[in-house]
Amino acid sequence: MTNPVTTATAATKDESGGTLSFYGIWLIAAVALVVLPLIFSSGGSLTSFSLIGISIIFALSYNILLGQTGLLSFGHAVQYGLGGFLAVHMMNAVASYDWPIPLPVIPLIGGIGGLAFATLVGWVMTKRAGTVFAMISLGIGELVASSSLILRSVFGGESGITTDRTALPHIFGWTFGPQLQVYYLIAFWVMISAIAMYALTRTPLGRICNAVRDNPERVEFIGYDPHVVRYFAYMFAGFFAGIAGGLTAINFEIANSAYLGATQSGLVLFAAFIGGTAYFFGPILGAILVTYLQLGLTNVTSVWQLYFGIIFIGIVMFAPGGIAGILMKHRPLIRARTLGTVIPSYLVAALPTLALVLGIILSIETVARYTASEGEGNVINLVGIPFVATAPTTWAVAVVLVVGGFLIARVTWRRVAEAWDRAATVARDRGYLA
């Protein structure tokens, strides 16, 4: 089964910009990782950055499967979780036997855990791609998640297994007690893993993975076995997922069976797909957005997972390239200097779209608060205006916003498409592919 969602090439390297801007981006990323905690130094933001870093590695590892090789996995958290468990057990063993293994090496152990499991099950799993692979990955995920509750001595049952990251041998005087030091450890591994995974996409293996995604039959004709290629991709993805799991274990000092579960697998799929699987940086954007929303929305609304689902459905239906796909679509227009002709239509479309979005939010919040708690806490603060969930006026406003916003937005987005077509035609005439 081919995968037209990701048929765009995975190349992100700017052909005309040359190597300078290419290395510049990595350098800027590295500097940003170092400087960020100095600017936002509160405990809350450090925790957020740590979680975002971990989820970047996890989402990038997922994209080795979905974006690069076209394997849709519903059980990627298995490798992540097993990596986390191995890391926790290793940390406890190091602490109790006084092995000379410092904490920064532990994520590698997690990676080996993920790799080991991927090697074990991967051969059977990657026999077929497409829907069958998706179902098998789901089945294996459920199998491992359920088994983890039976094997209590390894997985610690429902409470999980705890550890103490400061009990490991210190290096350079770093105890890794403060969150800042843990952040830098995570940032270090984010950088290493991202470079390694990017390098992987440039190797012959990475290229043949793309070929397997787009046309496995032709790959067979040129003498490669797609099964073996998928197996390798699965192992690499498992390795990096294990690193992310190991970092999570260090960050929280615990590993429990929730790490392996379907929710975790679903979230990484959301992150990678919302960000955009066709470009290397897509999952990074997705991981940042999803983690940020997850942390931010939980304080604002009780039904934040529903918003995730709706954003995801919206992306699947209207922008299957994800955020990265939307951004990269504009590149030829910017180069051909025709973007200016599209922007007015965007501005016109923005207003009804905003009304539609606000209407949907208002409807959801109204239902959520109407059913959840009568009386107390049923006031919705939307763009500074308080709405009472039980008041008919609120319902009327919501209906008007949704219906009116939808009807007008449909017209304006048709205009956007027309303006876009004209701009793209001009860009094509000027020699920029659109």
């Binding site: 077929r128 829907t131 088994s147």
Partner: protein
Amino acid sequence: MAELIVISTLNGILFGMLLFLLSSGLTVIFSMMGVLNFAHASFYMLGAFFGYQLTRWIGFWPALVLAPLLVGAVGMAVERYGLRNTHKHGHVAELLLTFGLAFAIEEIVSMIWGKSPMDYRIPAALDFPAFTVFSTNYPAYKIFMLVVSVVIFVALLITLKRTRVGLIVQAALTHPSMVGHLGHNVGRVFMLVFGVGSALAGLAGVIAGPSLVTQSDMAALLGPILFVVIVFGGLGSLPGAFIASLLIGLIQTFAVALNGSLASVFGPLDPSLGPSPLTDIWNVTIAQVAPILPYVLLVLVLIFRPMGLLGTRES
């Protein structure tokens, strides 16, 4: 022992028939449209919740008819406005759409009805023991569930094998474009099949709701087992789905009823060994292993017979 076998066989066949109500729709939709409907178990859950709500408003019997129709309408809307628009982006996008839907439906259900189990009771007319086997009273409601499932099964079989509609559906399974060339509206056939499949799942939800637990996580619990059923039976094979449903229903029910463990057969391990994976495995009862048995079956089938029990194609 004989009592346990009789009761478990009855329960197993019942659970198997319920699974078949779901997996039949899933497998027909899959072979027709190439879409693995992740939200299929969510339609089952919607059926249970609609059934519960309608039972409270207008009684069980109208709900038995109305709730599946409602779920079928939701299914048709999903096909018409969701899947048909996503089709151009490929099967993976369609699969992801249904995945997102399953996620959203679960959230919407728990938003409206909460996360705790519903008080969805067996209707009074069926709340009596049907017969007594050995010393166990077998509830009449379970017999009712069995009868409904069997009637639907027979009706489905007759519709598919003996009517003109069934003929078109069967043809559209293998040669959709040829059916289109012959002047049939394939898009509408797809929509109707999707609707009927969803309605069947909804019906399963309505009748299973009072007997099993009606809760917002019921879709997430049953969904993966459905996939095991259709992979095990062979993708796109209705007879395969039937056999696999019964088999998995029986295996699950018997496993839950049995309480043996390796420790009870071979005696306990030396306690001086301390806790280890071995003692975990040694002491775990068959009942505790029951939830993972379907997945073990799945892995075994994929290793030894990748096309499934009665499947003909590999993918």
